[in-house]
Symmetry: C2
Subunit: 715 residues, 2 copies
């Protein structure tokens, strides 16, 4: 039986204590803010109110409340406490830990008096001595999610506390401490040898149900064979079939869960050979996902923390976000290492919707050193993550963290933290691939702009010339819709898109590059020097939609040499003024979300667009492709039209005949001279005999008579 406690929060400073009601799960700083009447964290400079709390210690206190039978023991359970803490019972320290993920379970029985107080002392946030104050490097020897130290889309907001549920539990002697199912799948997938590991002092009964709900097994054997198992497939490739199981002890206590049978491997990419001639180096990293013997193209996005206050992320929010990813025809989410710690609901939803999970450990963009204390904390936290998450069929690969082999991080293949993680994954979960980091050789991160003025390249040029084996981060920013901006930018600042405080704090300027993420220079380049905020929003949505659509479709055209496309990023933890996310906080699709959804359909016609901005009289050329990454062949033809002003000009008819499963076909090329029309845009439209394969691109158009705005903008 579970007894939730009535927790009181306490802020401990040099000046004494302040007490306030605490919510569990939650974050103690959020509780304090609520009690003290802090302004909305999202509005204007609301997030800065929390800076004054950064170096405080905190406590949770509760008078222990529970009723235990004479044969029961009393446990304190917390599923996760952020970050360094001690647990006290009646003033005695009974436990201490540093970490965020590993649960704690403490048997209190022999210490109870009948009038007991439990206290959790949370130490101040780790900040590495000598690190630049206010920078993420303060987190470079802890497992605290580095994103909390400030990122280009997350304000600096250091939080701690009981972010996962915590309670007092009474347990009988036959309590089931844990139960886990593992299996060995035969190489032809025709048979699964299933093993139940049940951590219980009494014999338990096992029930196993097939995906249709039929009872397959009832009994006490710990190993059994499933013949011809229905396999777990990711979205777009088949059904994510799950078998359900229960383990029941003599007292009637049940644990339940699911198991999905599948095999994942990472294979060499097609054409990822070593350089030619001598001296010869190695070929590129293996990054072609093979699921159940079938090579699949990974289509997905980078997933970040869904809340600033991690304890406020609900199962419903996770479910909604995973549904949005699956509905956008995605089959993978990368749980980015800067915010790698999530709620179980995320994994359950991914299991059920067939979304592969690329699980990173909590390292990002720092040089985590060969430091004994840090390595010990990482070993404990990573072990807890592996043991908790290896049960999920959706979890497809482990990864040390984000961009650790790039100049701004500085780690190498020899870094002990990464060798430790490889060792732990090998020992505890050998059959899941492990990457030291992303990107590895041949993989690509970036760009993150529609137009990159440093290199003079737009999205089209950048990706048509890239030859990466996987695009595991790329982004195009957009500005949030006006009603969202009204929730974060004060009215006087909202009149103009300019680097004033609220716009800057919400990442519209100076978030990464000077103009990120509003990209005002780029908007001016394409659309002229002047524009209202509403116009700028519409322009940025247009660029984000067309930009991401091009990149995803181009990555698919580059298959099988290229095996993956994941944009940066899917969601965001608060309302940003501008960001590369395609779902704005909390879970609202941006216009680009729908463009991505279209580009990720299993099969579609696609035009290889050369650029965004066109002029009357220019020759417009675009090869037409039929893309198919699904498990079935498609047969269709296409008619291609140019729609400009009120004209519809037929350009091409192409019969693609039948295109096999997982195959792309480059077809005919459209070619025409753009006519003189009074408009600022035109649409290339592909209509198919199978309307599910239709496609359309809306591109910028300038009549010769109207001089291009950017001609006056550029030097």
């Amino acid at each position: 039986m579970i007894f939730r406690q009535n927790w009181q929060g306490v802020r401990l400073t040099d000046h004494g204590e302040e007490s306030f009601p605490a919510t569990v799960p939650g974050n103690i700083q959020a509780d304090y803010a609520a009690a003290k009447g802090f302004r909305d964290v999202m509005f204007a400079d609301g997030c800065k109110q929390f800076e004054a709390l950064e170096n405080d210690a905190w406590e949770y206190r509760a008078r222990l409340s529970c009723t235990a039978g004479p044969d029961e023991r009393v446990w304190f359970v917390s599923l996760g406490i952020d970050y360094k803490y001690d647990v006290f019972l009646n003033g005695d320290r009974i436990y201490g830990y540093e970490g965020i993920f590993k649960p704690v379970e403490l048997d209190l029985t022999d210490r109870l008096t009948g009038n007991d107080e439990i206290r959790i002392l949370i130490y101040p946030h780790p900040k590495r001595e000598g690190a630049a104050p206010g920078k993420r490097e303060e987190a470079d020897r802890s497992c605290k999610p580095p994103v909390c130290y400030g990122w280009d889309w997350n304000p600096r907001l250091l939080i701690s506390g009981m972010w996962r549920d915590a309670y007092v539990e009474t347990r009988k002697s036959d309590y089931i401490r844990d139960s886990e199912v593992s299996y060995r799948l035969s190489s032809d997938f025709s048979r699964a040898e299933v093993s139940f590991a049940v951590d219980c002092d009494a014999e338990c009964t096992i029930d196993l149900y097939d995906p249709a709900g039929n009872l397959l097994y009832h009994g006490t054997d710990k190993t059994l064979t499933v013949e011809r198992p229905r396999l777990w497939w990711c979205a777009g490739q088949g059904s994510p079939d799950l078998y359900r199981w229960t383990v029941t002890n003599p007292s009637g206590m049940k644990r339940e869960g699911t198991v999905g049978f599948r095999r994942v491997r990472l294979l060499k990419n097609a054409g990822a050979t070593e350089n030619h001639g001598f001296p010869k180096s190695r070929y590129q990293a293996p990054f072609t996902m093979e699921l159940n013997g079938r090579k699949i193209f990974l289509k997905g996005s980078n997933f970040v923390n869904p809340e600033l206050f991690w304890g406020q992320a609900t199962a419903e929010r996770y479910r909604k976000l995973v549904d949005l990813a699956a509905d956008a025809n995605m089959n993978i989410l990368r749980l980015w290492g800067g915010a790698a710690v999530h709620h179980p609901a995320l994994y359950e939803a991914c299991d059920e919707r067939g979304i592969l999970v690329w699980q990173e450990f909590m390292l990002a963009c720092n040089d985590y050193p060969d430091d004994e204390h840090y390595l010990a904390v990482l070993e404990s936290e990573a072990t807890a993550m592996i043991l908790a998450l290896r049960r999920h069929p959706s979890v497809a690969l482990w990864c040390g963290g984000n961009e650790l082999f790039n100049g701004w991080s500085g780690m190498t293949d020899q870094s002990l933290a990464l060798r430790l993680l490889n060792h732990l994954c090998y020992t505890l979960d050998r059959d899941r691939p492990f990457l030291a980091t992303s990107p590895l050789e041949g993989m690509g991160h970036g760009g993150y702009l529609f137009y990159d003025s440093r290199h003079g390249t737009d999205v089209y040029r950048c990706f048509e010339n890239a030859e990466n084996i996987a695009y595991t981060e790329f982004g195009v920013p957009s500005i949030s819709e006006i009603k969202a901006l009204e929730r974060i930018i004060p009215p006087e600042e909202l009149k103009e898109l300019a680097p004033t405080e609220s716009w800057v704090l919400h990442h519209a300027f100076r978030a990464w590059m000077p103009e990120s993420h509003a990209s005002l220079e780029t908007l001016q380049r394409y659309f002229g020097a002047d524009g209202t905020v509403e116009e700028r929003i519409a322009q940025s949505d247009w660029l984000q939609s067309e930009g991401l659509k091009f990149i995803y479709e181009e990555a698919r055209r580059q298959s099988p040499h290229c095996s993956a496309a994941l944009n940066w990023c899917f969601n965001e933890p608060w309302i940003t003024a501008a960001n590369c996310s395609i779902v704005r906080y909390p879970d609202v699709p941006k216009p680009a979300y729908y463009a991505v959804r279209d580009a990720l359909r299993p099969a579609l016609f696609s035009a290889k667009i050369a650029k965004f901005d066109w002029k009357a009289g220019e020759i417009f050329k675009a090869p037409i492709w039929l893309l198919n990454d699904g498990p079935d062949p498609v047969a269709s033809n296409a008619k291609v039209f140019l729609r400009i002003g009120d004209r519809e000009i037929p350009l091409l008819e192409w019969n693609a005949a039948q295109v096999g499963a997982g195959t792309n076909l480059e077809g005919a090329q459209v070619c025409c001279v753009l006519p003189q029309v009074e408009t600022d845009r035109f649409t290339l439209e592909i209509r198919s005999s199978d309307p599910r394969l239709n496609n359309a691109y809306c591109l910028q158009y300038r009549n010769d008579k109207k001089p291009a705005a950017e001609r006056t903008m550029n030097t």
Copy 2:
């Protein structure tokens, strides 16, 4: 007390048994050959006599002979048996193993009758079912050294048996089973915390002596501190100082060994940054060796098995070869994965001479699969290697094996064998770097020709345009001297360098590329269509000497971006007719050895030569460098002369002033028009005020009046 046994060898075939005297350590096939009067394995087609023995089983048999006191136990000890075997005592199977490296120690006492027979049954060589017969892929799921299956410088010669010593040993109850010393060195190297792990049931006494032989400690403590330890340095950087220790038990039995205090790390190479622009991949592998806080340039060679019959490799041979490497100014040997298993004498010599050891595991040029049986054997063998070799200060890095991430092998970062090796090295020897394989990204293997007709590049062009972070294999072949050829090629074949049987069997033709390793086409290209064998030998020595000299010096010029140069290969296991080795079997330096020795001096003047073949009237240009990879500054000047015919033409005087430790300086450039002289060569000679820095290059010259030989050769 040790009792050597009188071993009898037995060949087991379908037709019965053949008995013969066996030598331990040794190889059973060599014993059989000796007994049966096989012709010399090296001469003509002598090696082919062993093909008929490939699929046989063998036994060693001995009547057990020893005298044990009443308080003693009787052990059978073998330091290594090749490869899959069972041990029988009086007909009972008491042990079985698959591997080559792991020692076996069996307590026989309770089974002894007083009239005992010990038998070792050796199974036939592993050959993977389905593998192409006679190819190295037969070894792709075993830990048998793949080189024995045939390589481009090792005939196919499958051997097995007790290649290391074996004996019966009587042990008292206080026998010291093992003792090992480990240490933690403070980050400023000022203090070493030393721990003795003594595996003994009685208390032992420890003595520790400093490098000068002074007793530092005598007592029974297992941990002690050495203040201001003298560090172990590799050759050229300091003294390889070793502390000597003994562990003595109450009976007076001693174990002894040495410990060298040093820290090795692999750091990122200078300028090894990720590609510019987006999408961004990772930077190159870290391969700059840091020893005791000092970055050093690795100068060395690839070391292979010193005998065809591994059991015949003596400590003296290993010592001689290591001495030759150290005398050639080398500081590292790569123990190449195809022949990764060596005698302890090699490591002891490397400890004493300051030669760093790059230790590979026994994988090379195959795709070792994720196979449970193979992984179990590899785990056992690799564990034994790590436990045995981690004691040596010379062992500087572990490596999974040779060229595993290249097309001809096919393994990837996800291969479980390599993840297993990383896990074992992390667990058992965390502070030594681990590479999955060589080459990694940025490192280079090859070329292996003076002139590469496929790419139209010579050694000069190939390496001056390369930008690798390390050249860990490169080679130029030469033909063995005539007195060596006489030992392997019958007189009638020796009249002409041509692809007849003995030349082919000894790797002069078709060993790797069609013309390897004699490179007759290349010799004809430079020296004309005709030539006696003696002339071809001299020509090949000239090309190998100048070629290797250029590559080593060029690699040093490319420092610090480039951090290593190791030629392929140092030695050879038998007399080859032609090979890239610089020391011919058994331990005779080739002319190129001396050229390499010159190029690897700590400090020298070096000319960046543009090509080998010059003509009268051509403009000869060469920048002059002062190279210094030593720990001390050098100050010198250089006078550069052209010596041609009997003329000596002064070209340049350059004062390099003082050049710091580990620093190269590019100086002035010589430039002259080559005069008309009746000769076929000229020398560029650099004479320094410090004669140790002198240098000279002997290059080909053709007078205009004499048309170039290759003009008639090339199409």
